[in-house]
Every structure is written in structure tokens, then in C-alpha cells.
């Protein structure tokens, strides 16, 4: 496998409604920034990979077909990736594999969601005949598993609010973030409306329009490079008897493979920044455990000690994360791109000082798809 690196990243200004652009225009805003960052032109791009969450979210079947012109994919290979909410991460990994395998020299990865064109909560709660209509969108799906985590780990109730306050404050440092709440506090989060008990309003990701793009290359094009040290993806069924919904096997397996491939034996010591897919606050401690940063039942202690803040032992979501911007299909690629930005030193006000190794992570479906990568500043 030959080396591959992220050589340019771009993203949109994320917002609840980007009514000024079409889907094509939204994607291009991110693509143009990524290509300018990489210093490449269209003739330098060999193939395009597009990621987007379920088609019911915008009501456009196979949007990759009508977006081919906008994605600069005419006359080139164009692939669509689809792994629900983790799709942005999978898109990055698929693009990386096309370069690592030697099939292409430079690949453009793009992911987007224009949530304002529909209603994701509706799209995730279509009442199937013969069943009990108790589903209530993603929050309704994940809330029972968050409750199970709190019980199993014996975590104090305020930890979720700490995550939310931290991520929203970080979002205020990110010029592209949808939500910027520099004055949010743990107390104000705890005072916000309980939506899907135990998940509060302020502990819930927003619904965003946005896109993200990265250029992945076999050689540096701009002088800056985030070398892809490892990628991993794993999958498991949504439900089966004995499934651990709090700490899914697929996530554990992906993380183990990832650290092994990256040559990392002690993730907490060796990773400088982590962009982890946290759409509801409690998923920070849940994924810290699932990823092996801490032992089982100990993730919340790292959060509670303030170690996941910028300046802490493992800054988690210095960009503000999914809790600050959630264009679903793009959210995973944003995690991957933000990890790359950290090791390229281009994260601006939310830069983690001296970050040399960073994690990008995404999950999707009913915690059943996992995609992650490790990027580093050191040339392999």
C-alpha cells in the first residue's frame, strides 16, 4: 500500500437553511475551498467520491447523477458511498483507498446534506405497517442506549451537559460552525428542555445544510499534508440477540484494527486531537470507551476531568463537532477533514497546539456502521 495524504480541505458555512445555494452550489462551495487549499485544478483530479445520507432526506434519488457536472466528474470515475450517518467518514476512507491502492493519484472526496429541503425526523420515523409507531427519530432511537450507558458506567448526570457546553464553546472558535454559543454553560445546558429523556435540547445536534470536501493525493501538492496512517471500517446488524448497543462490537473491532495499522499502542498518549462523531452529548464518553481511549466505564471520567477540552490531555472535537454543525452526510467527512486540519496546522482559532497525530471518526445507522482514520504530520 503506497502512502496517501490529505492535501487540501474545504467546507461550507453551515447553517439551518442555506437558501442562497442549490445542492450543486453547496457542494461547490466546499470543493472550491478544498481545491484552492490543495493548490490543484480540475485536470489534477482523477476521480470523485460522493457521500450522502439516505436519499429520503432530500427526496432525490441518486443525487450523484445530476451533480456530476458540479462535482467536476464528467469523464471521470464517480462513486457514491452510502453508510447512513457515517457516510462522510466512509467517503474519506474509500477515496483514500483509491490512492493507497495506486488506482488514482488524486481523488476528490465530497459529502453533503441539505437538511432544510426536508425533515430528517420525519424521514427516520416512517410508520411501517404492522408495527408499533413509537419511533421518534434519531434522538428517540439513541436515548435508551444513552440511559443504558449512564446506568452501566455509573456516570453522574452532569457529564452530558459538560460535553455539550464544551463542544458549543469550541464551535464558537470555528468560523464555519452552524451554532456558535461562546457563553453556554453546564448550568444552561442542564436547564434546557428535556427532549428525549435523558437527552436535552442543548445536548442535541442541530439540523444543518452544509458540505465538506478533501483532496487526497499520493504526493503533497501545496506543501502541507496530513498523511493517512490508518483507515478502518466495520459493520454489524442493527439488532441481534445479545447486541451491545452501548459499546458495539463493530466499533471496538474497527478501533483495534485502526490503532494496530497506525502503530499506536496507547491511543490516549499518542493521539493529540480527536474529532469524534458525537450527535448527542453522551456519545463522547461512550465512544472514548469504544475507541479504547479509556477502559470500559471510565470514559466519563476523562470528560469530567476536563481532559477533552482544548488544552486537555485529549482534546475532543475542537471544531465544535456534530453538536455544533450537523449536515448529516457531511458530518463524518468534517470529522476526518478537521483531524487533517489539526495535523496540517490549519485549524485556526481551534488549533490544538503542536498536534501531530489526530483521529477522525464517524458512526451511522443504529450505531452499526463505523469509519475512522488516523492522520499524522510526519511523512511516512
Amino acid at each position: 500500500m503506497r502512502p496517501a495524504a490529505v492535501v487540501g480541505t474545504g467546507q461550507t458555512h453551515h447553517a439551518a437553511k442555506r437558501l442562497d445555494v442549490s445542492m450543486a452550489g453547496l457542494c461547490r462551495e466546499a470543493i472550491d475551498r478544498a481545491m484552492a487549499d490543495a493548490g490543484v485544478d480540475w485536470q489534477d483530479i482523477d476521480a470523485v467520491v460522493l457521500g450522502k445520507a439516505p436519499d429520503l432526506f432530500e427526496g432525490v434519488m441518486m443525487p450523484e447523477l445530476f451533480l456530476a457536472d458540479a462535482l467536476g466528474a464528467v469523464g471521470k470515475p464517480l462513486l457514491r458511498v452510502h453508510t447512513a450517518g457515517s457516510v462522510g467518514g466512509s467517503t474519506g476512507n474509500v477515496a483514500a483507498s483509491l490512492v493507497q491502492s495506486g488506482v488514482h493519484n488524486r481523488v476528490l472526496a465530497v459529502a453533503f446534506e441539505k437538511q432544510s429541503e426536508s425533515n430528517a425526523m420525519w424521514a427516520l420515523s416512517v410508520p411501517t405497517p404492522f408495527t408499533m409507531p413509537v419511533h421518534a427519530g434519531a434522538g428517540g432511537y439513541f436515548a435508551p442506549h444513552v440511559r443504558a450507558y449512564i446506568r452501566r458506567a455509573g456516570a453522574p448526570e452532569h457529564v452530558g451537559a459538560m460535553v455539550a457546553a464544551k463542544d458549543r464553546r469550541n464551535g464558537a472558535l470555528n468560523p464555519y460552525a452552524h451554532l456558535k454559543q461562546p457563553d453556554i454553560t453546564v448550568e444552561s445546558v442542564r436547564a434546557s428542555t428535556m427532549l428525549w429523556d435523558p437527552i436535552r435540547y442543548d445536548e442535541t445536534c442541530p439540523s444543518s445544510d452544509g458540505a465538506c470536501a478533501v483532496v487526497i493525493s499520493s504526493e503533497p501538492t501545496s506543501g502541507r499534508a496530513a498523511w493517512i496512517r490508518a483507515t478502518a471500517m466495520r459493520t454489524e446488524p442493527t439488532t441481534f440477540a445479545g447486541r451491545d448497543q452501548v459499546n458495539p462490537q463493530a466499533g471496538r473491532d474497527a478501533a483495534r484494527a485502526l490503532w494496530k495499522q497506525a502503530g499506536i499502542t496507547d491511543p490516549l498518549s499518542e493521539v493529540d486531537a480527536a474529532e469524534i462523531y458525537v450527535p448527542f452529548s453522551w456519545f463522547e464518553p461512550m465512544w472514548l470507551e469504544n475507541l479504547g481511549f479509556t477502559d470500559i466505564g471510565q470514559g466519563w471520567k476523562l470528560t469530567e476531568a476536563g481532559e477533552t477540552e482544548i488544552g486537555g490531555r485529549l482534546p475532543v472535537n475542537p471544531s465544535g463537532g456534530v453538536l455544533s454543525s450537523n449536515p448529516i452526510g457531511a458530518s463524518g467527512l468534517l470529522r476526518f477533514a478537521e483531524a487533517a486540519m489539526q495535523v496540517m496546522g490549519t485549524a485556526g482559532d481551534h488549533q490544538v497546539d503542536g498536534a501531530r497525530v489526530a483521529l477522525g471518526h464517524a458512526y451511522g445507522g443504529g450505531s452499526q456502521f463505523f469509519a475512522m482514520w488516523v492522520v499524522g504530520s510526519e511523512t511516512p
Binding site: R28, T131, V134, G242
Partner: protein, 314 residues
């Protein structure tokens, strides 16, 4: 074998589209009874206008007004129009190259009979009387070489609504079918995997772990344990139960996987993981092939189940 149960499933939503500068201009002009294309880097005029050039991928910006008349480059006759199509009588789908354009536009031609349609036929736009800024502002094309109605003034269009409605017939699987027929008799039918002995309720065609058909049928009681739950306080589009309500994972006694159902008869703040519950059935005359025969679960009054008894089902 009897035919598996089926039921209609209608999925519909009024999607909105923000148009951006190119499509916004195109639809605004349609509302003004004008057809506008855009010039590509190779000089071709694209109608409808493309946002980005198919050759160079650069953003295009040179709008070109084309005629409301053109020529049919290809067509297909639709003898029985479907819901949502432009005309409710037989018509032709046609690729129409408007005069001044280099590409074709797909639209309907109200030709009356396939005998009157031909590749090379001259057509013109028939403008809709009430125009909103949509491709349907062109009601259809008609066979004529005369220019269509003159442009008029109208407000700018930046958004369109595109309703999408899908009508499915949802069929139960052969495995689901006996389960649903059991429900019609008030029985809870589960299946056991012959390999791992796990009991699935509702049953599956195959065990997700072992991949083998779950052939052993067993009947379960309507009592169980709440493994975990969510209090739904948030209202949303399409919701069937008014909030607040408790959506609980219920692990029936003897089953190895919990399912979501409604929990009532207890204040949400008093619901606990491990709470013992029993089914409250609807009146028998209301039963059908659905889990909704169980109106809800309620606390049974038994002591809570110990955590270890359900911790492997979270």
C-alpha cells in the same frame, strides 16, 4: 401456502428546493413566459441551463434567451398517463430542441394521437395560465410552428416545492406472517435459532448471528422487563402518539431480544430500567395483524428484575 399479509404504505413529503442563481433565473423566466439557457465553454447553449460546465466544470453565467418554438428530436407515446404526469390524457414524452438551443429539454407534447407525432415535428410552448416558477409553468408543448404567447412581468423565484409521494404495498415476510396471524388471536409467536438457541420476538427469517433459518416456533407470555427506555417529549411531523410518552424496550420473558413499545400507567419519572411490565390488550374486536393489538404495557407490580438478568440485552 397462503399469501403473506400486506398493507398500504404511503410515504409523501413536500420537499423544498433552494434554487441558487442559475436555476432561479431559469424558473423566474419561465414564470415570465421566457425560456432561458446558458452558454457553455464550448459555445453550446444548454436548455435547461446547467449550473456548471460539463467540459471544464467551471460555473457558467452567460444566460441566453431561446425561442418558445423548437423541434422534436425523439419521443415516446404514453397511452395511459400516471399520477403526477403533466397531462391526464394520452401524450408524448419528447426531447425538444428549442430554436437557439444546442441541447434538448424533456417535456410533454399534447399531440392527441401518436400518428401526429414525428421526430422533426415542430412544436411550441403552451404556457400555463397560473405560473409559479416551475418546469410545469410550461403546461406542455403543442404541435405548431407559431410563436407562443409573449413574455409578461413576474416576481423573482428563489424556491420551489416538489411534492414526492410514493405508494407502496408493504408485504409481511413468510416468517413475519405466522407472527402477525398469531397476534390476530392474541398470541405472541417467537422463533428460536436452532444454532444458538436465541429466541427472537418478533421472529426473523434467519438468525442474524448464525445465518440459519429460525424454524422452531414458540409462544411467549405477555409479561416482561423494561431493559431501557426514552421519555419522548418532542413533537414532530407524522407522530402518531401525542407526547409526552414513554417508549420502552420490553424483553418478554423467554425472549432474547427486546422490542420497542409504549409504556403507560406510570408517571414517566417513575419508570425504571428493570421494571416488570405486562401487556394491556385492546378489545378483541379491534384486533388486527399488528403489534398495536397490544395497546401498551403497564407495570405488573412485581419487584424489579435484577440488572444482571437483562444487562446482556442493552
Amino acid at each position: 401456502m397462503t399469501k403473506p399479509l400486506s398493507a398500504p404504505l404511503d410515504v409523501g413529503f413536500d420537499y423544498t428546493r433552494s434554487l441558487g442563481p442559475t436555476l432561479g433565473r431559469f424558473l423566474t423566466d419561465l414564470r415570465r413566459r421566457k425560456v432561458t439557457g446558458i452558454r457553455g465553454s464550448d459555445g453550446r447553449v444548454h436548455v435547461p441551463p446547467l449550473e456548471y460546465d460539463p467540459v471544464t466544470a467551471e460555473r457558467l453565467s452567460e444566460f441566453v434567451e431561446v425561442a418558445s418554438t423548437g423541434v422534436v428530436r425523439g419521443w415516446s407515446w404514453i397511452p395511459e398517463p400516471l399520477e403526477g404526469q403533466p397531462l391526464d390524457r394520452p401524450f408524448a414524452w419528447a426531447l425538444i430542441q428549442l430554436d437557439g438551443a444546442d441541447t434538448t429539454l424533456l417535456h410533454a407534447v399534447d399531440a392527441g394521437s401518436p400518428d401526429r407525432m414525428a421526430t422533426g415535428a415542430r412544436v411550441r410552448v403552451r404556457w400555463r395560465a397560473e405560473r409559479v416558477g416551475a418546469i410545469t409553468d410550461i403546461e406542455c408543448f403543442e404541435l405548431s410552428d407559431e410563436p407562443a404567447d409573449d413574455p409578461v412581468d413576474a416576481d423573482e423565484v428563489t424556491m420551489v416545492t416538489t411534492p414526492v409521494h410514493l405508494h407502496y404495498t408493504h408485504s409481511a415476510s413468510p416468517t413475519e406472517d405466522p407472527f402477525l396471524r398469531g397476534l390476530m388471536e392474541g398470541r405472541l409467536i417467537a422463533q428460536r435459532c436452532p444454532a444458538c438457541s436465541k429466541v427472537y420476538f418478533p421472529p426473523r427469517p434467519a438468525c442474524p448471528t448464525d445465518g440459519v433459518p429460525t424454524t422452531d416456533q414458540i409462544e411467549l407470555s405477555d409479561r416482561g422487563t423494561v431493559t431501557t427506555f426514552c421519555v419522548v417529549n418532542v413533537p414532530f411531523l407524522g407522530q402518531r402518539i401525542p407526547p409526552p410518552y414513554v417508549s420502552a424496550y420490553v424483553l418478554l420473558d423467554g425472549a432474547d431480544i427486546p422490542f420497542l413499545h409504549l409504556l403507560l400507567g406510570v408517571a414517566p419519572e417513575d419508570v425504571r430500567m428493570g421494571m416488570r411490565v405486562e401487556a394491556v390488550w385492546k378489545p378483541r374486536q379491534e384486533w388486527g395483524p399488528t403489534m398495536q393489538n397490544i395497546d401498551h404495557f403497564r407495570p405488573s407490580g412485581e419487584p424489579d428484575a435484577p440488572f444482571d438478568s437483562y444487562s446482556q440485552h442493552l
